[in-house]
Structures are given as C-alpha cells and as structure tokens.
C-alpha cells in the first residue's frame, strides 16, 4: 500500500474537483425536476471519492462517504424523494466530505462525532423521509463506521457464481509426497466457449505453476477432426499434478479458477505425505459437484455466431481502420493522457519564451541593417524562427489557459446563500463558462466576481414584493457571462434590478466629500462614483456587502491585472458591470511606434489602421479636442507628445501619422505619432512591480535594441485626453475651421 501513497496528491486534487462537481450538481437539484444524468454525476463524484479513500485507508472518510453515497443511490433509484430539505442535507454532507478530506490530507483523525449529525440527517432521508427514523438512525451515540462499509472489503476479487466444484477424486498415488508438501490433483475441464469470456486456460495453468511444481497432462480426446474444428472453441482438458508447500491451500488454488468456476468442471483433491505433517489441512472434500461437465463433444457442434471461420476473420477485423464507434473517439482517447506539472516549471518556461522573444527581436533589429538582397537564406531562416517562436509562445500560453468555469461554478452557491440571507429570490444564469483565460487571471477573478455578484443581489435586486409591485417577476435574474472580444476576455454581470439610484449616489458622494456640492455630473460619471474608495450606499452595513470596501477594491484588483471595469445602469431596469481583462499576462503582439526619441508599443488588438490625414480631414471643435474624419466617422485625436510631454515630436498631423485605435467598448481614438516602426511580440514587464503605475500605460517592455518602451493602455489614454481637453493648450490644428473645405 505504501507504493500507492504517492497518488495521494492526485487523489486530493481530484477529490477537490469532484466536490465541486457534486456541489454544483446539488445546487441544480430541484424538487420535482430530477435530472438523472445530474444525479448520476453527483453519485459518481461521491463514489469516486469513497473508492480512492478506501485505497489509502481513510476509513472515517470512507464510512461517511458511504452514507452519503447510499442516499445518492436512493435518489438515483427514486426511492429517496428530492425535497428542499434533502438538498440542504446533501449540500451539508458535501461540505463535510470536504472537511473529512482535509483531515485525511493532514493525516489528522476527525474529531469524535464530526459526522454524527449529518449521518443521522442523511439516514432520516433514507427511511422514506419520515421525520423520525426507526431503530438504526436513532442511534447517534454509536456511529457505525466500518461495519457499514465492510461489504465492500471482504471480497477483493472473486468468482462468477458462488459454487466451487471440488470433488474428492480417488486417485491412487504411488509416488510418495515429499515431507512438508502437499500433492494436489486438479482436473480442469473447461466448457468449450470459455474463450469467449476472454479467459485463457494457458494462463491459469501458468498460474498453477507459480504455486509449486506442476506436471500438466493434456487430454485431447474431445478434439474434433480438422474440418469440424472451430478456432474459437476449446476442446482440451487438463489434469495438473501440483506438488506445493503446505501454505498453498485450497483457496489459493481455487483463486486461479476464480473467474471460470461456472464455466468449468474442476475437481481438486489433496494428498498429504503419509507419515509427516499431522496438522496438514484436512483433505478437501467439498462435495458439491455443481457445473456438471458439459461434454466437449456436444459443445463442438454448438453453432457459432459467425458462420465464417472466425480464425481467418479476426486479424482482418483488427486491421480494419474505420471502427464502428464514433469518429471522435480516437482523439478523445488521447486527450485523457494528461500530466500534472508544477506551475513553477511552466512559469519558467513562459519566462524563457519571453526572453527568446526579446532575443529574436534583437536579431531582427540587427538584420534590418544588412544590405538588402544579401543573406537571403539567413533572412528566410530568421523568418521561420520568428514563426516558430510565435507558435511556441502560443503553445506555452495555452498550457496556462483555463476555462473560467472554475470560477463561475462557485457562484451558484454564493447566490443561494445571498438569496437566503437577503430574503430575495434570485436566479443565476451563466454563459460562456468554457471561455479560456490565463490561470492567474482566472484565480484573480474569484474575489471581484464574488463581491460584484453579492453587490448585485444586495443592492441591485429588489425584494420579491417590491418586484411584483413594479410588474417584474418575483425572482430577480443575475446573468454572468464571459466571452473573448478582440484579444481580451470580457466578463459581464447583469441584473434586472432597480438600477443605480443616481440621486442617492450623488448625495452620498457629496456627503462623503468625494464630490463638490453643486457639481454637475453626467449620468455615467455618477454611476462611476461607486468605484471611488470609501464609497458605500447601503443604509445599513449588511453581512453581504456595504462595508464600503467594495467596488473600489474590485476596481483595484481588476486594474492590477491590466483590466478595466465599467458600469452601465438604467433606472428601474437594472445594471450591467463589464470587466475586460487581458488573456495573458506575459507576452503581447504589439506595434512599435515612435514619438520624438521615445518608443511606445500599442497592443495590436487595439489597432484599426494607421493613416496620414489630409488637412481637409482635420477639424477642431471649439473648446474641445481635435477630431479627424476617418472612414466617414469623426474620431478624436490624441497627441501623444503632449500627453507625455515629449519634445521634438512631429506636431502637425498632416506630417505625422495617425494610428486609429479602438477600445473594448468600441469607441475609436486617433493617436498622433511620428512613425510606425513595425510589428513585434513584446514581453510584458509589469510597471507596478518594477516602478509604479502610470496613467495611460499598461506595462513596459524591453525592445531588441535594449531600450525600455512603454506599452500604451488605449482606454487609459482616452481618459487622460478628456482631462487634457480642459487644461492643455490648444493643439496646433485647433484653429482650423470646422469643417474645412480645402481642396487637396
């Protein structure tokens, strides 16, 4: 058993997943509509935890899992009715199972009586849901852990059928049995179709040989002549004389035939050495001659299922490529070959890939200076290297990618609890659970999502009565969704509650000194006040939220991941929170641009196009920003050199370049830059970790020539430019009349 202890880690990891499976299944279990697949999945989860626990000898855990499993089995067989009370008990049982696993992991025994209450509750449901159970359940003082489960343990492997044919065959023996040994005579006459169950007599004879000194005699009397020979039928029988040590007993010999006892005529007799061994086992005379030998001659004539000679057919069928089972099955078989790898190793790999990307950029930088037309092969090789590096990067990143379902699956429980605490009726709808994102991002989503969902239920949704009054269904709906959008993951939390109470938010903000009294704020600005530190609208601090450490912490968590959060609210109809996060935190595809002597990187996913505007396309809005007409649409211009105070940059947009970028919410911006230098993969180095956070900057990177370039945050730039509008001096083109009708 100690060999198997190395699998404990796998077991605990797997059990944790199974607990989640069981929990989410239990949360979906509604009285009246029982989905048998769902119930089966819960049963299997508990069953697997029990099975593995047995292998490691966690008896307490196994005993409890057995109780749990028994009730689930009842649910599966429709003998235990599904009631709200039952679901609650099962959820508690699932929690307790998790605790038992924790004890087992630590190697601690569970405190005495840990499971008593839950076991009693489980058993109450078993006894037909009757409130008070009769005798067995009414004994909480005597928890009966082991006996309950004993049925599974006494019989590790066994025989088909219960009969053992062992008849004392009187066979006169002239050879003396060596002292201390036993001579067994085993007559083994299998039924002719024995092979059809996959049993192979040769292996049984070999197994006998492992028990001692065996002499095998083969009887061929039942062999038909050649044209009647069926390759899949068996016509031989054997007599084995086995001289074995005294510790080889009848059980061990029977064990050899355990799977075929019903398909054979087996007679086993033992003979001890004449004088010695007074305590030799009694001669075996089990007198039950069941399974009367089917005469082989008869068996030969039994018509075979396949009319053709099966011997010739077999190899062909095996070689045939298309198999009757589903086409995807072969691939599916391969996906199960997974390994578990330490996260550190993957991170090291990610790091190495990052360095490789930098090195590759460096080489590309040098190669650019080579005379054109020369070193063609070198250039081609580098092109390939670049492509392989990209593929390697994507492969490595995909190792770290995980579906968000691991976070989403925790939410039903949260909703259930919040609903219970607030007395509201809440329905949670999730979509896009399979959307994949980097593991770090997934892990960091738990807290923000937890808080936001609590917030939606606590502040957003109305109570059932109030909802009815305003003509909404009693149960409020919270919709949690995830999707990939332009290289980022976008998570939305939508509720159909009352929406943000803007007057209340504003007065609260003024009261807390966050907003000057008399300030005029747009609806959007008011909504966004809830993200300010120290803001909380709850009249009374509730257990759920409203401690004033809410949405600002959420926002901080999200921004630290390179993400953004926004809120959209309609009074009376509900609110929608939108989170947008990068898919990975390590590498990105970027466009390197220059402004003066500085280099910046723009995430490729933000870029729409770059163009050199004609003077006619440019318009200044009085008292506001400059805009440019691009593809029939006015786009606000942002002068990077102004924003970052860079001297020596090209200030005139008609001589510079405008890079059109798009933010997640679809709004566009024109960044005025000197030059676009080229596309390249860059390794993201966190600014917060190495320096400090800067507005409009997502992170930094190291370019091929060794200099540091800032990676721009487009949405951040938009925010900055709005503030600039009110303060900054007018940009040079501001004087242009709008619209300018200047022939070009």
């Amino acid at each position: 058993m100690e060999d198997l202890s190395r699998f404990k880690q796998t077991y605990f990891d797997e059990s944790a997943e199974l607990l989640e499976v069981a929990e989410s299944g239990l949360l979906r279990l509604t009285p009246g509509e029982v989905d048998s697949d769902e119930v089966n999945a819960i049963f299997r989860a508990v069953h697997s935890i029990k099975g593995g626990g047995g292998a490691f000898g966690f008896t307490e855990l196994v005993a409890f899992a057995h109780e749990f499993e028994t009730v689930m089995d009842g649910v599966r067989n429709n003998t235990v009715p599904v009631t709200t009370e039952l679901v609650d008990t099962l959820i508690r049982a699932n929690d307790l199972l998790g605790q038992m696993l924790a004890y087992a992991r630590e190697g601690d025994p569970a405190p005495a009586g840990t499971t008593d209450g839950t076991v009693a509750a489980l058993r109450r449901h078993l006894s037909g849901g009757a409130p008070q159970a009769p005798a067995p359940a009414a004994a909480p003082a005597a928890p009966p852990p082991t006996p309950v489960y004993a049925d599974d343990e006494d019989d590790e492997a066994g025989l088909f059928g219960d009969a053992m044919a062992a008849i004392a065959a009187a066979r006169a023996e002239e050879d003396p049995v060596p002292p201390g040994k036993l001579r067994w005579t085993i007559v083994f006459r299998p039924r002719s179709d024995l092979l059809m169950s996959g049993n192979e007599p040769a292996f049984m004879l070999r197994a006998l040989r492992r028990l001692g000194d065996a002499t095998v005699e083969c009887h061929t009397d039942a062999l038909p002549n050649l044209q009647n020979l069926e390759a899949e039928l068996l016509h031989l029988s054997w007599t084995v004389t086995l001289i074995a040590d005294a510790d080889v007993d009848l059980d061990k010999i029977n064990d050899v035939f355990e799977f075929v006892a019903d398909d054979c005529d087996i007679r086993i007799t033992a003979e001890a050495p004449p004088p010695a061994a007074p305590e030799a086992p009694p001669p075996v005379t089990d007198p039950v001659p069941v399974a009367a030998a089917v005469p082989s001659a008869v068996a030969v004539t039994i018509p075979e299922a396949s009319p053709k000679a099966p011997g010739a057919e077999t190899p062909k069928a095996e070689a045939a490529r298309p198999r009757p089972n589903g086409g995807g099955a072969e691939h599916a078989g391969l996906t199960s070959h997974t390994i578990r790898v330490d996260l550190d190793k993957i991170d090291r790999l990610v790091n190495m890939v990052g360095e490789m990307v930098i090195t590759q950029a460096m080489i590309a930088e040098h190669v650019r200076e080579l005379p054109p037309g020369e070193f063609q092969e070198l250039l081609e090789g580098l092109e390939q290297l670049a492509q392989h590096t990209r593929e390697l990067r994507e492969s490595v990143m995909s190792i770290r990618a995980q579906p968000v379902s691991s976070v989403f699956s925790r939410m039903p429980r949260l909703v259930r609890e919040c609903a219970a605490t607030t007395g509201k009726e809440v329905q949670l709808v999730t979509s896009g659970e399979t959307t994949e994102v980097d593991k770090t991002v997934v892990e960091n989503l738990v807290d923000p999502l937890t808080h936001m969902i609590r917030n939606s239920i606590d502040h957003g949704l109305e109570g059932p009565e109030e909802r009815e009054r305003v003509g909404k269904p009693r149960a409020g709906t919270v919709h949690l969704s995830a999707q990939h959008r332009s290289g980022r993951i976008v998570i939305e939390i939508t509720d159909d509650g009352r929406g943000i109470n803007r007057p209340k938010v504003l007065s609260k903000a003024i009261e807390k000194g966050l907003v000057q009294p008399g300030a005029t704020l747009s609806d959007e600005e008011i909504d966004n006040l809830i993200f300010l530190p120290g803001f909380s609208t709850a009249d009374q601090v509730s257990n759920l939220s409203g401690r004033g450490v809410g949405m600002d912490v959420v926002r901080r968590n999200i921004t630290s991941l390179g993400g953004r959060i926004g809120v959209y609210s309609t009074p009376g109809e509900g609110s929608r929170f939108v989170l947008s996060l990068p898919l990975t935190l390590a590498v990105l595809d970027g466009m390197v641009i220059s402004v003066g002597e500085e280099r910046f990187v723009l995430p490729l996913t933000n870029i729409v196009e770059s163009l050199r505007p004609k003077a006619a396309d440019l318009h200044g809005l009085v008292g506001k920003c400059d805009v440019m007409m691009a593809r029939g649409e006015y786009v606000r211009l942002v002068y990077l050199h102004q924003l970052f105070g860079i001297p020596g940059a090209v200030a005139d947009p008609t001589r510079a370049l405008v890079v059109l970028v798009e933010t997640e919410d679809g709004s566009r911006l024109g960044l005025v830059v000197d030059e676009v230098l080229g596309q390249q993969q860059v390794v993201i180095k966190s600014l917060e970790a190495n320096f400090r956070r800067l507005d409009g900057v997502a992170a930094a990177t190291i370019l091929g020539d060794g200099r540091v370039a800032l990676i721009l945050d487009v949405a951040g730039l938009r925010e900055m430019s709005r503030h600039m509008d009110s303060r900054a001096p007018r940009p040079p083109v501001a004087a242009l009349p709008a619209p300018a009708l200047e022939p070009v």
Binding site: F7, G52, A55, A157, E200, G333
Partner: protein, 125 residues
C-alpha cells in the same frame, strides 16, 4: 505472445486517481498501460492500439463499463479479449450483469497491488 513484448493493458476509469494507481502498479509489474476516462474513449483507444487486457470501471459518464464490454464483445476482434471489471460495487448483481455481457472477471476496489497483479497475470499472462 512473445514474452519479450510487453503486454498492453487499457485502464478505463473516470477517476484519475484510480487510473494512476492501476497504471503505476501494472507498469511496475512490466506492463504497458494506456488510459481512458470512459467507455467511449476506451473504444477510441482500442481502435488505435492493440491491447491485451481491458480493466474497466462500471459507473462512468458518457459510456458505462457494461456498455463498453457489450460493444467490445460485439466486435469479432475482441470476442476473446480479457476484460476485467474494476468496481467498488461488490454485489452479486453487478457481477452477474458483467458476466452476462461477457466480462472475464472482476476486481473489487480498493484493491491491493499484489492482488491486481496476480489477477492480471491470471487473465493475460
């Protein structure tokens, strides 16, 4: 049946722990082991590999063990393939169901490694 060629065992179980343990134990005893998480996957693996023995759990998602055995026995090539059912359900009913669809034998988990090896040797040498 070359003794120098490793016998290949397919372990079918939805529990990774179980697959790992069976796999580890049998590899230690000189067998090649391939894995599948349910009956459907197992059919795929058998389609792509020549296996000498199948050890299957009974209660699995997608396709359970009994269906797997039935499907295998319906294929001429696998009519005599040894198939052991590995299950915690030790009751006679399961065993006779297994027997009826053509299982070779069974092992009850939790198994101990020696027992597993000896049963495997018995059915596939």
């Amino acid at each position: 049946m070359e003794p120098s060629v490793k016998k290949k065992v397919l372990t079918v179980d939805d529990s990774r722990t179980m697959r790992d343990m069976v796999s580890f134990t049998l590899k230690g005893a000189g067998y090649d082991v391939v894995e599948a998480a349910d009956g459907q996957q197992a059919l795929g693996v058998i389609g792509a590999n020549k296996v000498d023995l199948v050890i299957t759990d009974l209660n699995m998602p997608v396709m359970d063990g009994l269906t797997l055995i039935r499907r295998l026995r319906a294929t001429p090539a696998h009519r005599t393939l040894p198939i052991l059912m590995l299950t915690t359900e030790a009751d006679e009913k399961k065993k006779s169901e297994g027997r009826a669809v053509g299982a070779t034998g069974w092992i009850v988990k939790p198994f101990n490694p020696e027992k597993l090896i000896s049963v495997v040797q018995k059915v596939c040498g």
